[in-house]
């Protein structure tokens, strides 16, 4: 006999109240980074010279700019999902946990925004 209420079973959210969404998005972002991570490393490796003109020209190319934005966004999303679990596992005091999670979330969003803005600024030719 299950002690779960019918509404609980239908919603399927379990004890964490958010179902499998965290687990699943962590995997989806991981799969995306399996492609994006090596793309960035290999691109920079085959670029050869890393002087300012070469790098700007590389980053401003449409596909590179799009993939850079996607890489930054996915990376920070995946990063937050990861550090969130670490905080939830090791910080037991509820107030400290909420404070840490909020701080980390703000940091991730701000850093992602700064990086994406930088890519767009180069791609749209607004860099000095």
């Amino acid at each position: 006999m299950s002690l779960r209420s019918p509404i609980g079973r239908v919603l399927g959210l379990g004890a964490a109240h958010e179902g499998v969404s965290h687990w699943w998005t962590q995997r989806v972002s991981a799969v995306a980074l399996l492609g994006l991570g090596p793309w960035l490393l290999i691109s920079l490796l085959v670029l050869g010279a890393h002087d300012y003109a070469t790098v700007v020209q590389w980053a401003a190319r449409p596909w590179n700019a799009v993939l850079l934005v996607l890489t930054v966004a996915t990376l920070f999303y995946h990063s937050y999902l990861g550090v969130q679990v670490v905080v939830e596992d090791y910080v037991s005091h509820k107030g400290a946990k909420v404070a840490a999670l909020l701080t980390l979330k703000f940091l991730h969003v701000v850093l992602a925004a700064i990086a994406i803005f930088a890519v767009l600024r180069v791609a749209l030719g607004a860099a000095p």
């Binding site: 995997r27 991981a30 490393l41 790098v55 980053a59 850079l68 550090v83 700064i114 930088a118 000095p128």
Partner: protein
Amino acid sequence: MATHERPLSPHLQVYRWQYTMALSILHRITGVTLSVGALLLVYWLSAIAAGAAAYERAAAFFAHPLMRVLLVAFSFCFFYHFANGVRHLVWDLGIGLERRQARLSGRVAISVAVALTIAFWLVVSLRDAS
């Protein structure tokens, strides 16, 4: 509230330390390290956007010997988290969960990570030399 009367899972210390446990915690450590390392990516991209002078400063910063050591460490974290991440994704498909398979794939993950780190910096140093 009688929270402490609930059954508790045993403390980690009661388990005999095993190789696969070390790999598991290493996945977490490398993940957190990479989260910090992402700051460097933000700095690098911002430097490109800020113009030639800022970019030169960033390039000098990344070329510093201490920074190079740190970059080698970050690259190992990336390759390990990558290889072991694939291992986790394969587990999520329900494959390779037997003890022997899990130990073997663990050795593969760490070997791939070390090999890729060495190969990457070999290519970088060869390119810098030419």
